[in-house]
């Protein structure tokens, strides 16, 4: 019995001991259901949607499990040279070399500055406290950006062998300090250094430390907004200017050299959300090959404002992993983003927080294989994340797409789809597979889900070709019949327009067919408004206006996918109605008001009916275009544009002639009338907006008064 008591005590204490890991390795057998951060991806409309978890915390390393006596203290940088990981623990004046499992192998400290370089003339030990960046050569030498001492030093076997200080160049301001933040070595031993407050780019030195040139400057964004702001600045006061957006190019914050010798640079621009091209891939000619065809936005795309401060993604580090993916570190929310090397979004994870898997102050990141290592200067540890099955499959799929290797079977893509039916890239992949297999209809379905209009268009072309080839005979017959009908119809219309023997007017000039008559004879037609008043049909007038509204709605929903990527929820009834019915009334009323002032003879009903009848060509072309868009592919889009233009021009002509006729103006005066009408429309619009703003302000004031009163009660 005593034996068993003994055993029980031992096992109890053993259990107690094993139950707790060390501070860093708190023992969590994760359940798979919980991550302390959100998991999402961006869809075609640049909105974040829930996505499967892509990376999870593997382990946390700190002094307790890294074979270190003293803890890391605000470590600034780390680098992996293929076999060892090096950590720049500058506040502790040391560089730590660890193996791939982050167990410290060797600690480099007490660097010696030989007499040749030192100020005192004898060998002296230096400290690298305050160094913010470093680079590790293949032979184990260190190149350290000794920020606090305003220099770059190269260390070989514990001794300084090269010192680079502020170069003597006319383009570098001698007065400003030479705070080197990051260094990297490129081809031919060239040293690239990022210096604070030098925004012409990175400084390039040759192997011997001679300053060569600048590299990789960011171009100022020459967008319309920038120009507009530039003009606006002319009118601003001193205080306002100080708060304005600057026009100097924003400097790179960090960089990395990838396997092919390109420099990947990261710029931090938090002036707005969605600033494009913050990550660039520069070739030796200083050209950005990543964003040359298309702008890419890296980081979070959705607008977030907290107490008037815009929370834009602030990138602080980049690493190119073994498969060529870019891994970026965002300091705004403590996120890590993974992008493919063509700039497309892959995954994200991470958040600031006090939980396992969240960051305190992430300052650097490194990838070893598929694992991502994030150095945290506040928690003084290194978080290691590994990809989930979903992320691994997704990356493999992306690589296969890039390499054009479509041997990746349908099953592999289907597997990915099983995990995430929201992901557009997977649908694209499936679409490509079916496209290669010549199953165009299925491919089209998938491309539609992938929101890829171009690919859909290609497949559609093939599909259409096949359709026509297969059903050539029936289609030919149908086309012949249609052509015959059209010819007959044209004949009929001509006869009707030709006028009857017993009357001065053709059949077309009855109330209901009158719009058809004015289509071809606007002048003769509209003049009859004055003579045969009963010819105006208010039913047709309202009919056309309603038809315009309905056709706008139809255009939104029924235009073929190739030309229309909108979703149901993007439809705004108000805007559609305003752009059709609203516009109509705006024009009519403005015109009537203006023309009363410049002796127009047209009455309001006449103007209304005339404008409405003038819409007919536009309506017909609009309908035609909407129908055609379902049968044309991307390259044939120009036909539709032509049809639209014909409709618009025809409408314009009828409108012009109509105005001339109704108001009995000369051509020149009609032009003036139109210009004044446009101006009148602007004035009316302005008044409407003014009143709307006034009313909403009054209403919100009333609401706020009510709120304040209710709070007091």
């Amino acid at each position: 019995m005593l034996k068993t008591i003994c055993k029980r005590w031992l096992s109890l204490s053993a259990v107690v001991l094993v139950l707790f890991g060390t501070m860093a390795g708190a023992v969590y057998a994760r359940s798979g259901f919980f991550t302390p951060y959100s998991n999402y991806e961006y869809n075609y409309y640049k909105e974040s949607v829930s996505a499967p978890v892509s990376y999870v915390l593997d382990k946390v390393y700190d002094a307790s499990n890294m074979n270190l006596e003293t803890a890391l203290s605000g470590a600034n940088d780390m680098a992996f040279n293929g076999s060892s990981m090096f950590i720049l623990d500058s506040n502790n004046n040391r560089i730590i070399e660890t193996d791939v499992n982050l167990k410290a192998k060797k600690i480099y400290t007490n660097f010696v500055m030989p007499a040749a370089f030192s100020a005192s003339g004898v060998d002296e030990t230096i400290t690298i406290e305050g160094a913010e960046g470093f680079y590790v050569y293949d032979n184990g030498d260190f190149l350290i950006a000794d920020t606090a001492n305003e220099r770059i030093i190269k260390i070989h076997e514990g001794r300084v062998v090269q010192v680079i200080t502020q170069p003597d160049s006319p383009s570098i301001d001698k007065e400003s300090p030479f705070y080197v933040r990051k260094v990297v070595v490129g081809s031919q031993g060239r040293i690239y250094a990022l210096v604070e407050s030098i925004n012409q780019g990175a400084l390039v030195f040759n192997e011997d430390g001679e300053f060569l040139s600048f590299y990789g400057s960011n171009k100022v964004r020459k967008t319309g907004e920038v120009i507009y702001k530039y003009l606006w600045r002319k009118f601003m006061s001193e205080e306002q200017l100080q708060q304005m957006y600057t026009f100097t190019p924003v400097n790179m914050l960090n960089f990395d050299i990838d396997a092919r010798g390109f420099m990947i640079s990261v710029t931090q621009d938090t002036s707005d959300v969605g600033v494009p091209n913050t990550v660039r891939r520069l070739n030796y000619e200083n050209n950005d090959v990543l964003n040359s065809n298309k702008d890419h936005v890296f980081g979070d795309l959705e607008w977030d404002r907290d107490r008037k401060k815009v929370n834009a993604t602030a990138l602080v580090d980049v690493d190119v992993d073994f498969e060529g993916f870019y891994v970026l570190l965002d300091a705004t929310r403590g996120r890590v983003f993974v992008y493919a090397d063509d700039g497309s979004f892959v995954s994200e994870f991470g958040l600031y927080g006090a939980q396992a898997g969240t960051f305190g102050n992430p300052v650097a990141l490194e990838t070893i294989g598929e694992k991502i290592y994030v150095m945290d200067a506040q928690k003084n540890c290194i978080h290691v994340f590994s990809p989930t099955e979903y992320a691994k499959k997704y990356r493999a799929a992306l690589l296969s797409l890039e390499s054009g290797d479509l041997d990746q079977s349908v099953d592999a893509w289907q597997e990915l789809l099983n995990e995430n039916t929201n992901n557009e890239l997977v649908y694209y992949g499936l679409g490509r597979v079916y496209d290669e297999a010549k199953e165009y209809e299925t491919a089209m379905e998938y491309f539609k889900l992938a929101k890829d209009q171009e690919s859909y268009s290609y497949s559609f072309k093939e599909y259409r070709k096949n359709m026509i080839q297969d059903n050539f005979l029936p289609m030919f017959i149908v086309v012949l019949v249609l052509v015959a009908i059209c010819l007959v119809a044209v004949r009929l219309v001509k006869k009707k327009l030709a006028g009857r023997e017993d009357s001065a007017y053709s059949v077309m000039e009855s109330k209901w067919l009158f719009p058809l008559y004015t289509l071809f004879h606007p002048a003769d037609g509209f003049i009859q408004f004055k003579t045969r008043k009963h010819i105006r049909s208010w039913e047709m007038t309202t009919g056309f206006i309603v038809a315009w509204f309905l056709l706008s709605v139809l255009k939104f929903f029924a235009t073929g996918f190739i030309f229309n990527d909108k979703r149901t929820q993007d439809f705004s009834l108000f805007i559609t109605a305003a752009a059709s019915i609203g516009l109509y009334f705006l024009f009519v009323i403005a015109n009537w008001a203006i023309c009363t002032l410049i002796e127009g003879k047209g009455t309001l009903p006449e103007i209304m009916t005339m404008t409405s009848y003038a819409l007919l060509p536009y309506l017909v072309s609009s309908l035609l275009v909407t129908i055609c868009s379902n049968f044309f592919c991307l390259d044939e889009g120009s036909f539709m544009t032509i049809i639209t233009y014909i409709g618009l021009v025809w409408t314009g002509l009828i409108l012009f002639v109509g105005l001339m006729t109704i108001h009995e103006y000369s051509a020149g005066k009609t032009v003036v009338c139109i210009l004044l009408t446009v101006f009148g429309m602007a004035v009316i619009l302005f008044l409407i907006i003014l009143f709307y703003t006034l009313i909403t302000q009054t209403v919100s004031f009333a609401i706020s008064v009510v709120q304040e009163v209710s709070l007091r009660l």
């Binding site: 031992l10 094993v18 139950l19 707790f20 259901f33 959705e302 607008w303 149901t568 929820q569 709120q707």
Partner: protein
């Protein structure tokens, strides 16, 4: 005979040596136990007389003795079996040189009062705290003996509070309580003080304040870094913090509201993702002694407080706090450029008479989290009618019937219902699973009535949707599903967006502390701010909820279905700060009344159920299997399962949305939980770009094979342990855990990459499980 005695002595000595080697216990084991007296360490000739404690015995019985210092009100509780003494202010504080600042004040006080100055309410940024340590030092404390204990009354003169805290010994447990009728505030305090001789001058120094919170005994059971043991915090599934210095951020105290953070406030930004506190129980384990606290009265208005040894604090401890009111921020003119933040104190009345916490001492084998789990379970059985429900181990399948999406007709947007699984198709799914070998299925229908999954109008009609097949198909499905295992159509009684059925969204929904209606938003996953494009939900207030529950029950009973799943009712705990609104404590009463009413005629299933709801349920889905995993936690335990397993059927989250299905499976085996999947019949691709896009990858054909395979693997074990209580849960190595059940089955789960051989010889394969003591499958 002599040899025997020698041997026995040798064994005893070895045991003693081992014990002293293994633990630095304060009290030696054995015969001297019940003569141990509370002593204060570190007293020397320089110690100020006022800091010296002298304890006298005030109550004894049932293996416990209560001592108290009649000048300062400090108490000490002795476990007569082991002799260990628990102090509500650590007795080694005089020796402590590490703890500074607010931590020191908290440890030295038996009561920390949070208040808000009424006059400064317009400029409030936070709650201010007062420490009883200062009151004692100023001599404003009165200690008097009451039956079986003492009453310590603290006078906070500057803020106008008189708070009596009672410590009594009841059947060997310490009961700490605050009787609210004896708490004097502001006017009442002034009156009492005047009677006791306050002058006009004294009155000038008192500023009227609102009493916000009462933190009881922060230091009870707190241990410094030299001790061996841990503290148990009921965060999520359960977390343990050892006494060694850890990663707690300096000057912070872990604070989490029991039953989830208050929902009667509009949260515009998510700060972090964490788990809730589901159970109002906490405790400390030191070597082979433990103290377990259960909040008996006032659990819904409590917060669990914990601090860990860190920079500036040498102690680790856990305790609880009563939140009588709170300071909430509300946004005026939200979303506009004039957006302003205001802070207001909620001015609700409590329905409680007394706030009571019971501390039970455990020793020997029970001095562990397992002992605490058993203790809490016994408490629920005796006091909250927790009974063993007769359920059969099943595979839980959620079937998503219908979601509403936006559609457009001639330019007018309307809501269109998408039938994702009709009732007949649901039956098909069940048939497919059964044919494949899943012989017991507990199905839950989501979105079978009203507006589909997301409630727009209050859900009271209980009419099965016609696009899904209508009442006939529903009843056919009910029959089939009940025969297949269990059938729980889900009902969200709490949320609504618009008025309907006599329940007005405006009047029956809860209001925030500024009187504005409270909105529950959905959040943009990237920016973590509320999504302005999605219509938010409101929550029903007490009266509205009761009315809705009554109406729904009447209508539901017409369907003749004997079971029901309630998701929000079993998980949400919130207040209503409007006029005549109910505070959390009364709201909890509303929930329990409704649950009792429903449970009397139906079998209920809950989702992420809180402790107050579980006694009425027979099954709980989405139980917490993780803690919030804060940096300062040292280990995680499935405490929720340790308490409820065997009484109520438990299942984790849905496996098809886990980031590692195999890991989730092993975790379910570890805690004895059932497996849980969510699915629909139709292709989930049609939900892309709709509001329901978060249901990606739920089409049942995607996970059907995996579910069948896992069921086959797990069933032999699950059917044996399903109705059995867990008797122990231990972590044998970093990657291997062992769970032992009452009926003798021992389950080993191995998360490592290589096989493991248990002490009893069982070989557990890598990333797999094995069990002994029962019938092998």
């Amino acid at each position: 005979m002599k040899k025997c005695i020698l041997r026995v002595t040798a064994y005893v000595l070895t045991v003693l040596l081992l014990l002293s080697g293994v633990s630095v216990a304060a009290a030696p084991a054995g015969a001297a136990a019940s003569n141990n007296l509370p002593t204060q360490l570190g007293v020397d000739e320089y110690t100020d007389a006022s800091n010296i404690d002298t304890y006298v015995q005030v109550a004894a019985g049932d293996g416990a003795t209560l001592f108290a210092d009649m000048t300062s009100g400090k108490i000490a509780l002795r476990n007569d079996k082991t002799g260990y003494i628990w102090y509500n202010v650590p007795n080694n504080r005089l020796q402590d040189t590490v703890t500074v600042g607010t931590y020191a004040s908290q440890l030295d006080s038996a009561l920390v009062v949070g208040y808000v100055d009424i006059a400064a309410e317009a400029f409030l940024t936070g709650v201010t705290y007062l420490y009883s340590y200062d009151v004692v030092a100023a001599g404003k404390v009165k200690v008097e003996e009451i039956e079986n204990g003492i009453r310590v009354t603290y006078d906070f003169d500057s803020t106008g509070f008189r708070i009596p805290v009672d410590y009594t010994l009841d059947k060997g447990t310490l009961v700490t309580s605050v009787a609210f009728k004896d708490v004097l505030v502001n006017e009442a305090f002034l009156e009492a003080k005047r009677k006791e001789g306050w002058t006009k001058e004294d009155e000038e120094y008192m500023f009227p304040s609102h009493l916000v919170s009462l933190w009881l005994n922060p230091g009870l059971g707190a241990q410094n870094t030299a001790q061996n043991g841990y503290v148990f915090i009921p965060d999520g599934s359960g977390a343990l913090v050892d006494f060694k210095p850890g990663a707690m951020a300096p000057n912070t105290v872990y604070t989490k509201t029991v039953y989830g953070e208050e929902k009667a406030q509009t949260v515009t930004k998510i700060e972090d993702y964490g788990q809730d506190v589901h159970l109002p129980v906490f405790g400390t384990v030191v070597d082979n002694n433990a103290l377990c606290g259960i909040i008996e009265e006032g659990d819904s208005i409590s917060s669990i407080m914990a601090f860990g040894a860190t920079q500036g604090c040498n102690y680790t401890g856990v305790s609880c706090r009563a939140n009588l009111r709170d300071l909430y921020t509300a946004y005026l003119y939200q979303g506009t450029n004039n957006e302003r933040q205001v802070s207001r104190v909620s001015l609700n009345d409590l329905s409680l008479d007394v706030y009571r916490v019971r501390y039970t001492m455990l020793s020997g084998e029970d001095a562990s989290y397992m002992g605490m789990a058993q203790l809490y379970r016994d408490y629920l059985v005796k006091q909250k009618n927790l009974t063993k429900k007769d359920t059969k181990a099943a595979l839980n399948v959620d079937l998503i019937n219908c979601v509403e999406t936006d559609a457009n007709f001639l330019g007018f947007t309307y809501k269109k219902k998408l039938a994702l699984t009709t009732f007949d198709q649901a039956g098909e799914i069940l048939d497919t699973l059964q044919e494949a070998g899943v012989d017991s299925i507990a199905s839950r229908l989501l979105g079978w009535t009203n507006n589909g999954v997301m409630n727009r109008t209050p859900s009271i009609k209980a009419t099965p949707l016609s696009i899904l097949g209508g009442k006939k198909a529903f009843q056919a499905l009910a029959e089939k599903a009940t025969a297949a295992g269990a059938f729980y159509p889900n009902e969200d009684l709490v949320r609504l967006q618009k008025s309907a059925g006599g329940i007005s969204a405006r009047r029956a929904s809860i209001k925030s502390v500024v009187g504005l209606p409270v909105y529950e938003y959905s959040y943009i996953p990237s920016a973590l701010v509320y999504d302005m494009n999605k219509l938010p939900s409101r929550l029903l207030s007490g009266n509205g909820l009761q009315a809705a529950a009554e109406k729904f029950k009447k209508n539901y009973e017409k369907l003749q279905c004997p079971s029901l799943a309630l998701d929000t009712l079993t998980n949400y705990c919130y207040s209503d700060f409007g006029k005549k609104g109910l505070y959390r404590d009364e709201m909890m009463g509303v929930y329990t009344d409704i649950l009792q009413d429903y449970a009397s005629t139906m079998r209920l299933e809950g989702v992420k159920a809180q402790a107050y709801a579980v006694p009425y349920l027979e099954r709980v889905l989405d139980i917490p299997l993780d803690s919030s995993q804060y940096d300062f936690f040292d280990a995680e335990i499935p405490f929720y399962s340790l308490v409820f397993h065997g009484y109520v059927a438990l299942a984790g989250g849905d496996m098809n949305r886990s980031f590692d299905t195999h890991l989730s499976f092993l975790k379910s085996v570890e805690s004895g939980s059932e497996l849980h999947y969510s699915g629909m019949y139709e292709d989930a691709a049609q939900l892309k770009d709709t509001a329901a896009s978060s249901y990606y990858s739920t089409t049942y054909t995607l996970w059907k094979d995996e579910a069948v395979a896992l069921w086959a693997e797990y069933k032999p074990l699950l059917s044996q342990i399903h109705n059995s209580v867990i008797t122990s849960y231990d972590r044998l190595t970093n990657d291997v855990v062992r769970t032992v059940y009452e009926n003798g089955v021992t389950v080993y789960v191995n998360y490592a990459d290589k096989a493991y051989t248990a002490p009893d010889g069982t070989v557990v394969k890598a990333k797999g499980f094995a069990y002994t003591g029962g019938e092998q499958g």
